[in-house]
């Protein structure tokens, strides 16, 4: 039976929603500082070149130009990167892509800064460049980094895939390609900073990870931890791109030297040019199934193009390898994944870390097997899906909260109804309807590495509660969810808890707002802190209520004796009273919580290990219509079932699902970032409301025992199954499959032509 909660599972008003409606939260570009200098970065003019000389004399002579920084001005370590350090803030000996910053201008006005950018003279010695990752892997390819162009590889080997294929009734091998994608968050990157009276460099930033920013800026400037303070400004979306240092390092460098307030705001064009992208992947996947449709073996070769720098590339390569099996049990596994440098804008984290790319492949494969074997696509998924007790490709045995079967069952009625309504029967001379399924699994948190979170909870002597968390709420609602978890644990209402969020001076590290990890990991850290505080309160209450601890519960800001028939005043004691007494005894009322999911690193040779402590699951159903004459695709409906363990805030979960589905539509049908060609939103199409159909969200709750109140995560899973469902629906509509995302007008029309649908068709009326 499902436990009853006070605030968990209730869609209470979001923390700060009234302030948000009033326009109170201040975004970084709107921060008012006294007479700030304007910062602008000069970007590389080449894909790959030696930087021979930088002449700033002309630029410095421009009125209003205060200073121009180059790499020589960086006092600490000029090398950034969250996983591997390979990216200079300002170019030293060479540039590796056009995103690279070569110099930084500080000027009194925007126009002086712009003029200065044009007046800086950089002498380059152009080097041969390589933009194709397969070319980059060849021995004679231009070397982008000293250690070569292969940044990382991940192998996962279990059983004997080759031998298993021989016994399979259906063996399918296909190559899939995905495109570079821009995050296109609403708020372009921005920050501002000043030097505090005590000399601390204070930096406001639009960020997903203030504590990482802090560490990088400290290292970059060679300062002590206390000399830099990062405050997360109100943040208008991130989707992974605000995990890298964007403006923070520039602001820190200018503050360090100039001791004057500065601001640095990217235009949309600069956000396009200079920030991370989604990795384009090329994967060749071979899978085999027996005559009953049971998947037996997979062999996969994955190449992730990380562009000029690593950023989160290693994480993407590693996660791609783990996830390419799909949410299915496959005994024989032979997977290799490579992360390769090219002279392109760097690729980093983007909602799903490679999982959306590989889901396109594994969901296409399973549909191909279904067709090959004459099976129903839903049945074949149900037959193969992971269950409690299943072993994953890395040999991890799943012990609980495996809700993929439930997700598939949840979309089943919609699927059957669509089939019965004759979705695939041609009823129009040049429109074909199609239905498609996409399933996915997603490991919560980082892959096979520690990724702890911490949180602090404090009760003052008057009984007021304050929660301290470094967890950046970038619009997804983590502050609300963490307040709910704290409130549930301590028996109060979320609105009664004061939240201190994303300020490195007052909060401790909660890790990145990424990998769908904050509800699960930071939620657990908050719960841990609250339980420690709660234990102190309970211990004190024993002496006042004369009742053992296990008879006591928190209720409406009191400790009360539970299950008492009558509500007697002597059976309860309020927090202020307890806090005062505890404080008087000198017992701490501030407690720090901690959680690090139990993961086992992947073996470098076999990939064996437990990369994640828990997994989220989902299945989407797409219903659409293809115009066979033009290649236009019109979505009719999406049904999206997500196993989130426990929805802490159901409306938030639904928001994530619908937003993720919209993003998935873009990934499926229209988004493609082409370096140098794609300059702004004029050239890059994300879906508008008109492209998004009715989305029917279904929340599946297969509780995770290690999660806070059973919760897992949903942020990235929301996006992952959408594109596969759409691609499978197009394949079903046309009888011809698309292997290269996006399935844009050109590719859909080509599929329509090659499948013989182009031109007026006979119609069966019925």
């Amino acid at each position: 039976m499902k436990p009853e909660y006070n605030v968990i599972g209730k869609s209470l008003p979001r923390t700060g929603s009234v302030d948000r409606l009033r326009g109170a939260p201040v975004f970084a570009a709107d921060i008012q500082l006294e007479n700030p200098l304007i910062l602008k970065a000069l970007r590389s003019a080449h894909d790959h070149a030696e930087v021979v000389a930088i002449d700033v004399s002309k630029a410095l002579a421009i009125e209003g130009v205060v200073r121009i920084f180059t790499a020589a001005d960086i006092p600490g370590k000029n090398l950034l990167g969250i996983i591997n350090k390979d990216q200079p803030l300002l170019a030293t000996d060479k540039v590796r892509s056009r995103s690279d910053a070569v110099a930084l201008v500080a000027a009194e006005t925007e126009s002086a800064a712009h003029e200065a950018l044009a007046a800086i003279s950089v002498t380059y010695n152009p080097l041969p460049s390589v933009t194709d990752p397969f070319e980059a892997l060849k021995t004679d390819a231009p070397k982008i980094h000293p250690k070569g162009n292969l940044l990382f590889s991940r192998k996962i080997r279990q059983g004997d895939a080759e031998a298993a294929f021989a016994g399979c009734a259906s063996v399918i091998e296909k190559t899939y390609r995905t495109s570079m994608i821009e995050h296109n968050y609403l708020e372009p990157d921005a920050g501002a900073g000043f030097v505090d009276t005590d000399g601390t460099l204070v930096i406001y930033a639009s960020t997903q990870n203030p504590h990482y920013d802090h560490k990088e800026v400290v290292t970059l400037l060679g300062l002590g931890d206390n000399q830099v303070r990062i405050i997360q400004a109100a943040t208008g979306g991130g989707f992974g791109s605000k995990l890298d240092l964007n403006v923070q390092g520039f602001i820190g460098l200018a503050l360090f030297h100039l001791k004057r307030p500065v601001r640095h705001v990217y235009t949309r064009e600069e956000a396009y040019l200079a920030t991370a992208k989604r990795h384009p992947l090329t994967l060749t996947v071979k899978t085999g199934a027996d005559a009953d449709g049971r998947l037996k073996a997979i062999k996969a070769h994955i190449v992730c193009d990380t562009g000029a720098y690593g950023s989160y590339g290693i994480a993407v390569a590693s996660r791609s390898a783990v996830h390419v099996t799909g949410p299915y049990e496959i005994e024989h596994v032979d997977i290799e994944s490579y992360c390769v440098y090219t002279n392109k804008p760097f690729c980093g984290a983007m909602r799903g870390f490679g999982a959306p790319q590989v889901a396109f492949a594994h969901e296409s494969q399973i549909d191909l097997h279904a067709r090959d074997l004459g099976m129903d696509p839903l049945d074949i998924r149900l037959k193969n899906c992971l269950r409690v007790g299943s072993k994953t490709g890395t040999g991890q045995v799943l012990t609980a909260s495996v809700g993929i079967g439930e997700c598939l069952e949840a979309v089943k009625p919609y699927y059957r109804e669509a089939l019965e309504s004759g979705v695939s029967a041609p009823t129009h001379p040049f429109r074909r309807r199609g239905i498609g399924l996409g399933a996915m699994w997603y490991g919560i948190g980082n892959t096979g590495v520690q990724n702890p979170s911490t949180a602090g909870i404090e009760m003052d002597p008057e009984g007021h509660i304050t929660l301290f968390t470094g967890c950046a709420d970038i619009g997804q609602g983590s502050t609300t969810v963490l307040a709910q978890i704290a409130a549930e644990t301590l028996g109060v209402q979320p609105a009664e808890i004061r939240m201190v969020v994303g300020d490195t001076k007052y909060t401790t590290n909660a890790g990145a707002t990424s990998a769908s990890r904050q509800t699960y990991i930071s939620g657990n850290a908050v719960k841990d802190a609250c339980q420690k505080l709660g234990d102190v309160l309970m211990t004190e209450a024993i002496n006042r209520l004369h009742s053992p601890k296990d008879s006591l519960v928190f209720q409406d800001g009191h400790v009360v004796i539970k299950a008492g028939p009558e509500n007697r005043p002597e059976d309860r004691i309020d927090f202020p009273c307890l806090a005062k007494r505890i404080h008087a005894k000198g017992v701490p009322l501030f407690w720090q919580g901690y959680f690090d999911p139990e993961t086992i690193p992947l073996d470098p040779e076999t990939g064996a290990g437990s990369p994640y402590a828990t997994y989220a699951f989902a299945c989407h159903l797409a219903l659409l219509e293809v115009d066979t004459l033009t290649g236009q695709v019109t979505l009719e409906k999406l049904v999206a079932a997500h196993d989130v363990g426990q929805a802490i805030h159901p409306e938030n979960v639904i928001g994530q699902i619908c937003g993720g589905a919209a993003m998935g539509i873009g990934f499926a049908l229209m988004e493609e970032f082409e370096p140098q060609k794609t300059v702004s939103m004029k050239d890059y199409h994300i879906p508008t409301c008109a492209d998004v159909p009715t989305v029917i969200p279904i929340i599946v709750e297969s509780a995770e025992p290690s999660g806070p109140y059973g919760a897992k995560g949903v942020g990235e899973p929301a996006l992952i199954p959408t594109a596969p469902a759409i691609i499978n629906a197009i394949a079903r509509a046309l009888g011809e499959r698309i292997y290269h995302l996006p399935a844009n007008l050109e590719r859909v029309l080509a599929a329509s032509i090659s499948s013989g649908h182009f031109g007026p068709q006979e119609v069966t009326h019925g």
Binding site: M670, P687, T688, A690, D691, L745, I753, F758, P760
Partner: protein
């Protein structure tokens, strides 16, 4: 951009006088949905912006005698909501349905759409099939030019800098069939990869007795296609005949634009879109 002056005269005479005085350093602006984008991008530099959007002489949609007059400052929303256009130039009314987004339709004007000379202008094919002429005012008086003569190439306006487009004169048509269709990379807010407009009537025997057609976004300047019109006029429209006309249209267009990489899609899609648009005739 910051050093651009903004002028909003009260009358057409004042506007023309300002333009005469500042010829060569003034850009006419109405809704600003193209001009402001170009200014920000730095591709347009001008001393003055002359705002004509509120000039009475440029407003209104009306039937005058045998002509249909559409003010140059009529917004796309006004075009969308116009009962007169729905009755007398239905393809033009339909071209406003999916024009950019509602916010843009509320300020963008038909005069601006024409004067910007983008090959992708959504109103151009519909104006072409109504044999529209632009009425131009200058201190010397008024003159009329066919809309096909306004652009000398993509984004190149052939009009002298001292003239203002005040309105368009269309040949009104009450027809049984008319449509405008386009293909973009998404359902709204996408530049047309191709667009087309037509209007037609059938006689008592089911033959096409009147057919006007224009293709947009594929050629440097959108124009009526007399060859296709002649091919279908007098014919009984069946799927095969329309499909064949679409093929000829595609072939003709590719002959003009050349066989670039994008032609692979365009060639088929022109035929396909033509089929889809004209299919109600079958």
């Amino acid at each position: 951009m910051m050093n651009t002056g903004y002028v909003r005269p009260r009358t057409l005479e004042d506007a023309l006088a300002f333009l005469a005085e500042n010829s060569g350093k003034t850009r006419i602006v109405a809704g600003g949905t193209d001009v402001m984008v170009d200014l920000r991008a730095g591709t347009l530099k001008t001393d003055y912006l002359l705002d004509v959007s509120r000039l009475q002489a440029l407003r209104g949609i009306e039937i005058i005698g045998n002509d249909l007059s559409v003010g140059a400052a009529a917004t796309l929303s006004e075009i969308y909501n116009s009962a007169i256009l729905e009755a007398h130039a239905p393809a033009l009314q339909k071209s406003a349905v999916n024009f950019a987004s509602k916010q843009i339709r509320n300020v963008a004007t038909i005069g601006g759409n024409v004067a910007h000379c983008s090959p992708c202008g959504d109103t151009l094919p519909a104006l072409a099939i109504h044999e529209a002429r632009a009425v131009l005012s200058s201190p010397a008086g008024e003159r009329q030019v066919p809309i096909e003569a306004i652009a000398s190439g993509p984004y190149m306006c052939a009009l002298p800098q001292n003239e203002i487009i005040t309105r368009f004169i269309l040949k009104p048509a009450t027809v049984a069939f008319a449509d405008f269709q386009k293909i973009g990379r998404r359902k709204e807010l996408a530049v047309a990869r191709m667009s087309m407009a037509y209007m037609a009537d059938k006689d008592a025997e089911g033959r096409i007795c009147f057919f006007r057609f224009a293709l947009g976004a594929c050629t440097p300047t959108p124009q009526r296609n007399h060859r296709i019109e002649a091919m279908l006029t007098g014919q009984i429209p069946d799927a095969a005949r329309i499909w064949e006309a679409g093929r000829v249209l595609a072939e003709d267009t590719i002959a003009v634009t050349g066989r670039r990489a994008s032609a692979v899609y365009k060639e088929s899609a022109i035929q396909g879109l033509f089929m889809r648009m004209v299919y109600p005739l079958v």
